[in-house]
């Protein structure tokens, strides 16, 4: 029985390691300026934890193979000092690994989430609600109109609660359900939630950020490849959560300019 267990553990270890090494189920291609740092950090994490995983599983298999079928009742060899030092040793070993990964990873995370956006970023407001995302551009005047939650009216497409009757800067605001952005230009999003927690997740951008009602949360990135990608909500936000998605459309600058002009004309 011990030998069978050792074989099964070895097979599981080899197959699962091979799946990771082959990137069978891996992240989609990175399309962001910062994504390489995230990917590098992910690889370092996978390698360091993967090496420990393989070593520990193979050690388990080895011990099971050699000693699993012994029937004389003798212990193989006790850990010096007994069980308590063994648990402390294991906790310190794993803790040191996790702490190291956290410190290194936090640096990468902070480089994305705790740096100020480029001052020339394109500013876009994002409103998340059950169960959709809406995006707002300031329009030709370059200014966002003020938002008034009590004026939100989906029937007239006033998803942000603008007051164009009194607020002239709100009249040209462009509100769309697809995040259209220019290629290679820094984008600064401002995230707001209308009702409950939501999340903004674009795997290709290596970006995931929660929306929290009452908080205004900044998020910035630069897309480096044109294309259409899915934005999904990754916070369970209600019965329609499964259908809460939008798309991000990355266009060359000239095409983006034309798109913005066309949208401005519709306001």
């Amino acid at each position: 029985m011990g030998k069978l267990f050792a074989v099964v553990v070895t097979i599981i270890t080899v197959v699962s390691t091979a799946i990771f090494i082959a990137h069978t189920w891996w992240l989609p291609p990175d399309i962001s300026a910062h994504g390489h740092a995230i990917d590098r950090q992910l690889s370092e994490t996978m390698i360091s934890s993967g090496v420990l995983f393989v070593l520990s599983q193979l050690a388990l298999a080895l011990f099971a193979w050699r000693f699993g079928d012994r029937e004389d009742g003798r212990r193989v060899k006790p850990f010096p000092g007994g069980a308590t030092p063994m648990v402390v040793f294991a906790a310190v070993l794993v803790g040191a690994e996790i702490l190291t990964l956290t410190l290194v990873g936090a640096k990468v995370w902070a480089g994305v989430f705790q740096t100020p956006p480029d001052p020339n970023s394109l500013q876009i407001d994002v409103q998340a609600e059950q169960f959709a995302f809406y995006f707002r551009y300031p329009g030709p005047d370059g200014r966002f109109g003020a938002t008034h939650p009590e004026l939100i009216n989906e029937a007239s497409e006033n998803f942000f609660g603008l007051d164009p009757a009194r607020d002239t800067s709100a009249r040209d605001d462009i509100v769309v359900p697809t995040l259209t952005i220019p290629l290679n230009r820094p984008i600064a999003l401002t995230l707001r939630a209308k009702d409950v927690n939501h999340a903004f997740y674009v795997p290709e951008l290596r970006i995931q950020q929660d929306f929290v009602p009452g908080l205004t949360i900044p998020l910035h990135f630069t897309a480096t490849q044109t294309g259409r990608y899915e934005i999904v909500c990754t916070q369970l936000c209600g019965l329609g959560h499964y259908n809460m998605r939008a798309y991000i459309e990355v266009l060359p600058q000239a095409q983006f300019d034309q798109w913005l002009k066309d949208k401005a004309a519709q306001q």
């Binding site: 169960f131 995302f133 989906e154 007239s156 497409e157 164009p164 009757a165 359900p177």
Partner: protein, 240 residues
Amino acid sequence: MRVRDLMLVGGVGLGGTAMMIGRAATPPGATISGKVTFTGTPPKMKPIDMAKEPFCARLHAAAPVLTENVTTGPSDALRWVLVYVSAGDQGSAPATETVRLDQKGCQYIPHVLVVQPNQPLDIYNDDSTSHNIHPLAKVNAEWNKSQPIGAPPIHAKWESPEFIPVKCNVHPWMHGWHLVLTTSHYAVTGEDGAFRLQGLPPGKYTITAWQEQFGTQSQDVTVTGSETKSVSFVFKATPY
């Protein structure tokens, strides 16, 4: 004598004309007819981008659906205005025929639906996507039901008179109205803004026109015999 103007919507409602179909024979009694128009500049009917729901976006790729909260027609006509007898009704028999509401192309068809208390209402999902119908009733009991692809119709009815806004929880742009009226003397204007209330016994009536954004206007009208009286409603529109 009960009179009912049955409103049908042609095609999938892409700016189509709502036709007012009365009874084959004109019922005895007086008629009040007219037109609902606006002055000023109404809000733009904005194209609805349904990118979130690819099935519906494809259906409307050639001609986007427009917002319907203020729908205008030729010669300053206002569509989707309810005109009804708000006072003076001399008795309306309860309606028993089933009214149908479709969710088609991620739109409510018709946008404005009128029923009487306890009149059967069947709600269909004609789309290859799920919907979640949510009437925001305050007087009646509010409810909120999912309707997956191919699900049977939802059988509903409203007990008390109320103007109920209806939304879809999955598609925020989907918006319509269930108007629950005790009177059977009503009409909903089509693209030409016209309405016609027939079979009115002699008497004095208050005729009210309701538009979801502009509110209500009322006029008192007295009719006798089988005369036809003309009444017009003019709403003042502002662009915002």
